[in-house]
Symmetry: none
Subunit: 204 residues, 4 copies
């Protein structure tokens, strides 16, 4: 019987192998044989640790999502504005430090659209990311004395970030615009928001 750590290690090996193969060839084209080879394991082992190929994809999605969230922890404890700037730049640095990761996400989103198991995990990841932004935005709005629809603001920020990464990876574009634009979006939203001490004018 393997120690629990060995199971985790084998699973992690296979998850990384899927990421590696999938980033270059896509999920469907990543064959079990190739994944096993990239992991240095026998093909038959894949089905010992995962019931099927889709479960492996779900595990990778969870893994990448957890990593992403962990990375954002670095912004904890900063002042509101600095924290939001940090969150934005941490997001956008994905494509520099981890080119494979972005490729994986593109494939995952495509699969999420028609595999409920993947879609659910992806939706959870988005929810978590958004909630981090909500917290940061709330703190900033409070510091600026504004009443902001932070849910919508966070969704918009994430959309700008995600869109910027995707388009940058697949269709190029001017360099470094996303960070600037993300902050302009924050300022634009804050400028349009009513002052916190005059709620009666909010709807105006």
């Amino acid at each position: 019987m393997p120690r629990p750590s060995q199971v985790s290690q084998r699973r992690a090996q296979l998850i990384r192998a899927l990421a590696q193969v999938m980033a270059q060839q896509g999920y469907e084209a990543a064959s079990i044989r190739e994944i096993a080879q990239a992991a240095g394991l026998a093909p038959g082992l894949v089905h010992h640790y995962f019931p099927d190929k889709e479960a492996l994809l779900v595990a990778l999605t969870e893994d990448l999502g957890a990593q992403w969230l962990t990375r954002l922890d670095e912004a904890e404890g900063l002042a509101p504005e600095a924290r939001l700037r940090r969150l934005i730049s941490l997001h956008l640095s994905v494509d520099e430090a981890r080119p494979d990761e972005l490729g994986c996400w593109l494939q995952i989103i495509a699969e999420a659209a028609r595999r409920p198991s993947v879609g659910a995990v992806w939706a959870g990841v988005v929810l978590s990311l958004r909630s981090r932004l909500v917290v940061a935005l709330t703190a900033l709005a409070e510091a600026r004395g504004r009443t902001l629809d932070v849910e919508a603001g966070a969704a918009a920020l994430l959309a700008l970030i995600y869109g910027g990464l995707t388009l940058g990876a697949t269709a190029g574009g001017p360099p470094g615009y996303a960070a600037t634009a993300a902050w302009a979006l924050v300022e634009g939203l804050l400028a349009a928001a009513p002052s916190a001490d005059s709620p009666s004018q909010a709807a105006g």
Copy 2:
């Protein structure tokens, strides 16, 4: 002898069939047999009109891109601000009127990342969309008397729009935030831009 339009019609049939099947099952999972059946044609005909499956995907990408651009023509001739607002809402209305189209784009982007033939067409579509936004942004900046980096602004707008559509389709989110946020982004960018008549204060 078949009329010339016959060929175009058959090709269009097959392109629509691919869109239909692909939106629900993805590109790889859309088999030639299924596509042919969705088009009401014999399987062998697919390769009579397209050299291979990838060429059909490229044709669909071109077709969807052309449709998208055509839709934006509706904003022609409006005043700067109205035109930009119209462009934004035309983009964002894609998911309402054409749910299949959004699903197709998700799959196309995933394929564009590793099929050069698809990637080139997609990059061309993005370029065209961005140039429409550049024109509109330039007109607006001029009307407001601001000096704007319109390339970066257009890229950011498109990123926000594309990200909003994608995340909305795959992970939900608050309703209708994207249009509001897009305009906040525009205002934020304009607010941060120097006045056109006082270039010396640009860096201020």
Copy 3:
């Protein structure tokens, strides 16, 4: 209604086209489309002039066989020994003047082994070639005053020639050995044959 000459011309066009394509790709790999293209005709026309692909192969076999026989007519009227030498060299010159032809024969023999219609034509060609050699050998044996089994001798000569061409085309070998050897074979057969005026010693 086409004039008879047009029918013949179209058929000849297609036969030459098959030869051309088949020499390089083999019979099975020579598609109707390709053959038609090589002939400069529409694909559908092939089945106007030949009931099916095999009939086209049979026609080509007949055509090549007839050409081969015609070529041998050049040796008519020569003295016995010169005539046989000429026949041998005419056979062996096939690979120099018509490289495609040899390639076709290799494919035809392979098909002849399992298509009766082709096999029959091929057998007829061999019979005709052999009978030319029989005539020449008979004349030579008579001139030398020997009683030769000319059927066996002609078969052996043809075997040597055909084997030499085939092996030369597919596996190389010393240059020009076949002509020398063919004549050595003739002399060897004649030397082993009894004198025509002492038939009683033939079986010795």
Copy 4:
């Protein structure tokens, strides 16, 4: 864990199955499904043991070539003349004991003409066969005190043998002529060769 011999056995099964099917239907017409069925295996297994169909054909060619050479070993150790007679009759007995084998060779030669991988193996087989004949011819020429171009002689012998087998299998002919003729060829070549002890008369 399968024993190493298991792999060899499966490969041999498939090679024999290809020989069986190919002799009757040709290489192109021998479908993977049919070959697998003839071997009593599942269709998918063929590509488990051979990368593709052509590799299976190459393996068969190597196998038949090796068998042919092994058969010739029976002539080892005989006196020069007896050895050569034995080599000739061993070659020519192919069509009696192994009708399938001859059919396979016809197909292989046709494929060798346009598949380099097959052509190379076939050329190697011919080379080996010829070198056996060279050795035997050399010994015989020495015993007879003659200076013979043994390379050319061996090539001619092989051509006569191969041509005789091929024509016999596809177009009939008088029975048993080839062995007689092969020996007549040998005697004819020896008769035309200069004496070994009078090299100055070689050109005479």
